[in-house]
Symmetry: C2
Subunit: 329 residues, 2 copies
Amino acid sequence: MHILIIGAAGMVGRKLTSALVAAGQVNGKPIEQLTLADVVAPAAPAGFGGKVETVAADLSVPGTAARLVASRPDLIFHLAAIVSGEAEADFDKGYRINLDGTRYLLEAIRQEGARERYVPRLVFTSSIAVFGAPYPEVIEDEFFTTPLTSYGTQKAIGELLLNDYSRRGFVDGIGIRLPTITIRPGKPNAAASGFFSNILREPLAGQEAVLPVSKDVRHWFASPRAAIGFLFHAAELDSSRLGWRRSLNAPGLSATVGEEIEALRRVAGDKAVKLIREVPDAQIISMVDGWAKNFNARRAEALGFKAEKDFDEIIRIHVEDELGGKIGG
Amino acid sequence: MHILIIGAAGMVGRKLTSALVAAGQVNGKPIEQLTLADVVAPAAPAGFGGKVETVAADLSVPGTAARLVASRPDLIFHLAAIVSGEAEADFDKGYRINLDGTRYLLEAIRQEGARERYVPRLVFTSSIAVFGAPYPEVIEDEFFTTPLTSYGTQKAIGELLLNDYSRRGFVDGIGIRLPTITIRPGKPNAAASGFFSNILREPLAGQEAVLPVSKDVRHWFASPRAAIGFLFHAAELDSSRLGWRRSLNAPGLSATVGEEIEALRRVAGDKAVKLIREVPDAQIISMVDGWAKNFNARRAEALGFKAEKDFDEIIRIHVEDELGGKIGG
């Protein structure tokens, strides 16, 4: 089978590529060809025996999507997005990439199918940013989407389009609303949610980290490994089980910052916890106040999606996958 | 004040124009200018002392929206849409008018405001078609939007855009999800929901009507007069009461076809009821099965929106507004 990953150079894209190469198959069908696209050409993965094409491609430029689907990939992962902070800062860019880009892709698939039958599986990474405060204590699967960011708006629109194009038979779509991915590997980034990762990743490497919110802040998490598991499972799922409700709240872990820190203490000791400096940031405190705290992801769980049960496990996964089993920098 | 109505030639547009002319003011501000736009130029209203401009304008053509807002109307009603059946039959046309047209309008307002501060009130007619089966017994205000038609998808996307453009301060938007408007005046039309009106309107005029579904079918209704009341109230409402959840389920009446018919019997007698012929239509039966049956429109009611309490009232309104008080054709 031929797989296209759009947004393959990002953290999730790279991990997904590695996981696909390691598995060698999806639903028992051997992976013969990988097309990896991003705004900068992604690196070709090591250890893959099949055909690989790496493409520098901007999905928001008309014609790009048509070129990407012209080779009729059987399975498409659409991970490309302008993240929350940037979509808020640059209104036009966010709509161009996150809305127009997604619509161009769906249209390109439909047009390709108009020439000759073509209904690929399309896995779309949505986000819990489709929700906006005020929330109930626990968000159920039928809660409405009232985003409070342009990014969340664009993801919610992407979900609606994915649904309609699936219902009309143009694509076989499934959207996964990812929890906040923690522990993100790499350096601290500018994302407002970055501190959830920073306060674990940096101390685990012997570095200081800043905590800008109070310890009783609650949020919704999954590890990078769990996220890749969601996408892989979404690719293999019998989509007739979804009906015409093609987007799902992924399972995750609801935890407070205090619980994160206690897990760090259990895994890496007081020495690691002492590396966290509390420096309240009013702007981040106010943003985080609008974020979802807890879900009941009943539907995704019934469909076989799986996430971590506690932060100890999330930390252990980071130590295994990113630190070669070694704590302390 | 200057009011722009886009989609002014339709049934709701014409009634709204008359109601505005009759009121002469919105929120105590005299109406000095009316711009009435539609794909064919609407008729100028009788009895209006202010300035009227009637415009033939296709909102889906780039540049049209910019021309319409260049005169900076204070209040805009966006009623223009390709209806459900046509948006399903012609995929491209539905997206062009219902999605692109709405987005062009919002962008034109934003661009006009980029030149010099301009944040008009925008009243957008959405629809209960943003919902899709399966439903709970009663749909609450926080139920999710999972449309089962392209029309419903386009309306749901319009709501999301309206929200985001409002939150960003580009427009002061409010979306009203209209119930099925009954009794629609005029001739029977091709809309699958037309029979809800036909089985009352035709017998009230001494004509036969066809009932294609069973009498226990339940649905959600409001009169044309109530719909105009919603739009007028939406124009006058203090929008800070909406927060960033700018779209509302309008109040309405949940009733069965059997209840409609018994109301007809009370108002117009057995003779009228005998004019209804039952001719089951499998396709309509199956479509109607996916439609919403009942809402708890708590939020809209708390904001002062009002609808009819029974079908006797809906029929009386039709007799008063359309038949000059006279029953029997």
